[in-house]
Amino acid sequence: MTAAPHSEDDNLPGGPPELLGEFGEFGGRYVAETLMPAVEELARAWPKAWADYTFVDEYRAILRDYVGRPTPLTEARRLPEAVGGGRIFLKREDLNHTGAHKINNCIGQVLLARRLGKTRIIAETGAGQHGVATATACAYFGMPCTVYMGAEDVSRQALNVVRMRLLGAEVRPVTSGSATLKDAINAALRDWVASVADTHYVIGSVMGPDPYPLMVRELQRVIGDEARAQILDRIGRLPDAAVACVGGGSNAMGLFAAFVPDADVKLFGVEATGEGLQGRHAATMAKGRIGVFHGMRSLVLQTDDGQLLEAHSISAGLDYPGIGPEHAHLHATGRARYLGISDREALAATELLARTEGIIPALETAHAIAALPAVIRELGPEAVVIVNVSGRGDKDMHTVMTHLDPATLTLIEEAERGRKAARAAHQAAAGHGGEEALIVDGHELRAEGKEEHERRSGSRDGCVRPGARGEPRRPGRLPDRVRPRSQRLARADLRRL
């Protein structure tokens, strides 16, 4: 019961309702009492830091010299023809260090954590991009980092798990609940409740209790501030619209923040309708109800009883049953509009941007690209539109391969068969008869190891395709979250993490 030594301003109210960080009827600080003092401390420290030029200068210098900002604003050359016209400008957050906008926020929050004297960082991650960005910021500053990640996402985004571990972060898979982003946040909050004295929780989007929605927006507004200056410089006027995908909503708020006061600039957020609004989806704006979740009052996908629903999107970063409170507010006031894009449309848009512009977007970003025809239809073929390319697609290549390009699998399979045949022939010639070997990821597995590998991976070539394991392949329909098993971490691997 000893009150933790509290840095300053203990007598400041720190939280009468008008200072609770509310956006209209959304926002607030709905957390357990144990966390309230830390949240209040952040709410006091953040505006001071953001008004302190030494802090801001350091943040900007790191963004410039390490993250690689400013990111370009690329005018699309061939995309407009495919989406009904318009002049389309791509804000290239995919070119940031670590491949997405997430790092803008992480650098700022880890700087703030240092200022507050915190010595340990925790984070949640869905797609792994925020986890990688946090792990990167921690490596940069030499701070220990623990990342919570739903077990489901650990297997969907295995490459990002490797990246985080390589960067020195500890990755803790979360198996409770739906084992996705929301459960990773729950686990991070539980860690924070116990470690709040020395630990800062780097939330990855404009969500959670105040001051996070506001702080993360400010740390991401560099996207919009740059884009606004760049478009004015390029064409001498503001765009007609700004478009971005929305998971928690940070890349969108970062872009929107610079344009909210410009009433003539229409704002479009794009959420994931997954398999469609009748099926599994993550369409919080379309289907959510006001609720209290993860420290905030916002729109939430929930049952009539107030229990959270599991969200679904092919993109792990949009797979979240809530949304940042400021988006709920922009939605309620009509300042921003929110469109829905399905898994299938996002996949098609990934290919479209790759083929027309030579840019492979993250699946999250692809939702924003897929919404362009609707935006252009509404604003007309002369419209000037800025789209936030929130991240690059490297992390999603396996999902893309299974869903969009099974031909690649056939290609790999044939090559593998050819190589094995050649090897067998070579060994026979060299007199090594009999012993069959299989090359997996550069490791040669002997006969007994090979059997084990096949058992774990479910098929001979290490990949499960739609139609494998006896499921009839339904033409024209996306297979249900089928993943190559070789990319999934087995239970045993999870335990070892």
Partner: protein, 215 residues
């Protein structure tokens, strides 16, 4: 006193035992109205005070007015909502007090004096002293002098009865805390005992109760 938990899908202040219990309860169809019916049933047969414990979302989603009316009708006595700090409590506290229900505020080891005053001002019935900086079910040292000092400070700041909880598991713990609070809350340990069957549950309750008696 019975603390009746209404399950929530995302109980962020709870450790693994209560999380799993809530998940099991939801999977087998537990609802708020079911919990209220259970409260009414207990009330018909026993005198003990009943506190409804949950998270904000299922309660608010039910409708604050309806929740307060039905809770009062069921004969329960107070609400304990872990993620509604005093700043946000009015949405439920208002309608609940109008129906004569108590509001149990929580004070944690991290709570500053300014916050403690705010929590106490919003509380009625009793105040819940969180024993440790962590989630329910975490390991507790019930003899920690800092814990006892904190309870004494809280005692000095309020005339409300003080009930201490989080990590209390056995009669020994209860004995160590007995002189420092007016009551103890046992959650995770009882849930675990309950899983071993009604006999084990009864035995633990009896043993815990033994801890409250002077030797």
């Amino acid at each position: 006193m019975l603390e009746l938990g209404v399950p929530f899908s995302d109980p962020t202040a709870d450790g693994p035992t209560i999380q799993a219990a809530m998940t099991r309860a939801l999977a087998s169809g537990a609802t708020l109205s079911g919990a209220l019916a259970l409260a009414a049933e207990v009330r018909r047969r026993f005198e003990l005070p009943i506190v409804l414990f949950s998270y904000a979302n299922p309660l608010i989603s039910y409708g604050p007015e309806r929740l307060s009316r039905e809770t009062a009708e069921a004969g329960a006595d107070a609400l304990l909502v872990v993620d509604l700090p005093p700043e946000h409590a009015e949405v439920l506290r208002g309608p609940a007090s109008a129906r004569g229900l108590g509001w149990v505020g929580l004070v944690a080891p991290t709570t500053t004096p300014a916050r403690r005053a705010r929590v106490l001002a919003a509380s009625s019935g009793f105040v819940y002293a969180v024993s440790l900086t962590g989630v329910t079910g975490a390991p507790l040292d019930p003899s920690d002098p800092a814990l006892h000092a904190g309870l004494a400070t809280l005692r000095g700041a309020s005339s409300l009865p003080i009930v201490v909880g989080f990590g209390v598991r056995k009669a020994e713990d209860v004995r160590a805390l007995a002189g420092h609070a007016d009551g103890v809350v046992v959650g995770s340990a009882l849930v675990e005992a309950g899983q071993r069957g009604p006999a084990a549950l009864g035995e633990l309750v009896k043993s815990l109760r033994g801890g409250t008696l002077r030797a």
